[in-house]
Amino acid sequence: MGSINSKSRIIFIFALLLAAFIFIIDISTDYHIVEGNCYPPILLFTILTNKKKYTIILAFICIIFTVFEFAYTGDQLYTDETGIRVISIFAMSFITYIIIRYRNAELILSKQKESLVKLNSKLKESNTELENFAFISSHDLQEPLRKIQAFGDRLNSSDGNNISEKGQDYLGRMLNAASRMQILINDLLYFSRQTNAITNYSNVDLNIIVNEVIADLEVRIENTNAKIIVEELPSIEAGPIQMRQLLQNLISNSIKFAKNDESPVIKIYSKIVPNKINPEKQMVELYIEDNGIGFDEKFNDRIYNIFQKLEGNKYRGSGIGLSICKKIVERHNGTIYAKSIKNKGTTFMVTLPIKQDNSNE
């Protein structure tokens, strides 16, 4: 800011000296060539400064010069000279008005920018706080929970025979609930670590990733008689571990939410499309299409919420899979979107940049 201020001051002083120089020439010669019309362009200089006071001061001085010159040379009055001087005073007032308007608009803009920057840093701060909160709290929550499980387990194994059948049932339910909570906390920890993890982008061949995921899910694929059709997929710049997690979650979801009377058929294919904002950059649209139970599209926003389970406890899992997917996709500057028809099937569309913007890192 200091250098801008001193630069403005230099420009102002220069303009002022120029005006004074012209004024002296004008009154010390008999030609009166200046007649005030040199001042408006000099006044224009002040737009290069950063304060409207420079414009106002200079305009004031120049108008005084013009009037003084007129008064000084009044005995040799020419009518056209009067006209020019009036016009230049008018022009100077107009320029001053425009510059003041311009400065005010600039001021509002810079204030808005400042508040945006402030808001942004506040948002970032609260976001980190939230992430840390999730990590720390889930870590600390684990401690007492582990005790409940350990001592419950101990009670069950050492004194289980002395407890009535009803008591054993209660104990069993307690331990079951504790282990469910353990899963929730573990998932929460995993989720919050996803936000903390730094993605090392590398060139990832999605064909290889999909094949690895299918190999991992082999047993479940065999048990459910699932058919997975994979078309040729591109390579993209991404985090390989994250891509694997993303596809694993989406494919295993498709297997999990299959219809009872129909074995799952999952199609995986892709399209290359230009980026909507920057057409020079290419994006890949990755589709994971299934013939499962589907869901009502009015829940489209809710499915990514943490621990959200549209189907209640009918299906296993804590309901964190899609939250992780969304987080991964967002960390890769992409989007995830689902189209679904109840009892017909769901198609997940993941849009990811083929090349990551390094400035976004």
Partner: protein
């Protein structure tokens, strides 16, 4: 089994210590178990200073089970100090913690921990773990004297 080897547990959590003791008894491991509650006490114990000045009562342990998250001096600092001490560095240290953080894991080995074990959730897995522990540290390996 070498029953002369003393086990020193450094853990602020008395319930965990209780579970470890019970799991050891379950496995008929009768080695003497001592416990300190934080890193400062651990250093006092090992150097026979402060409350632990009695050398007869508090001899150097054969193996240390070290929790990372403790008040005052935590496990990480204690680990660094013990492994940096020429008189103490030969005592095997088993980091026994709830932290499943990669940072803690890598740091522990970097500082010279001999093993890194996550505390198990159920008592039966604790019993299992203590069996493995004694099989290895009390029966298989020769410890420095």
């Amino acid at each position: 089994m070498n029953t002369k080897i003393q086990i020193l547990i450094a853990d602020d959590d008395s319930e965990d210590t209780m579970l470890i003791r019970e799991a050891l008894i379950e496995n008929q491991i009768e080695n003497k178990v001592q416990r300190v509650e934080n890193g400062e006490e651990l250093m006092d114990y090992l150097k026979n200073t402060g409350n632990y000045s009695n050398k007869e009562k508090y001899p150097l342990p054969g193996v240390i089970m070290l929790d990372l998250n403790m008040p005052k001096m935590d496990g990480r600092e204690a680990l660094k100090e013990i492994k940096g001490d020429i008189n103490l560095c030969s005592i095997p240290i088993i980091v026994f913690t709830t932290s499943s953080n990669d940072k803690d894991l890598n740091l522990s080995y970097k500082f010279g921990a001999n093993s890194y074990i996550s505390k198990p959730v159920t008592f039966s897995s604790m019993v299992e773990l203590m069996r493995t522990f004694s099989n290895y540290w009390l029966q298989t390996v020769d410890l420095p004297s």
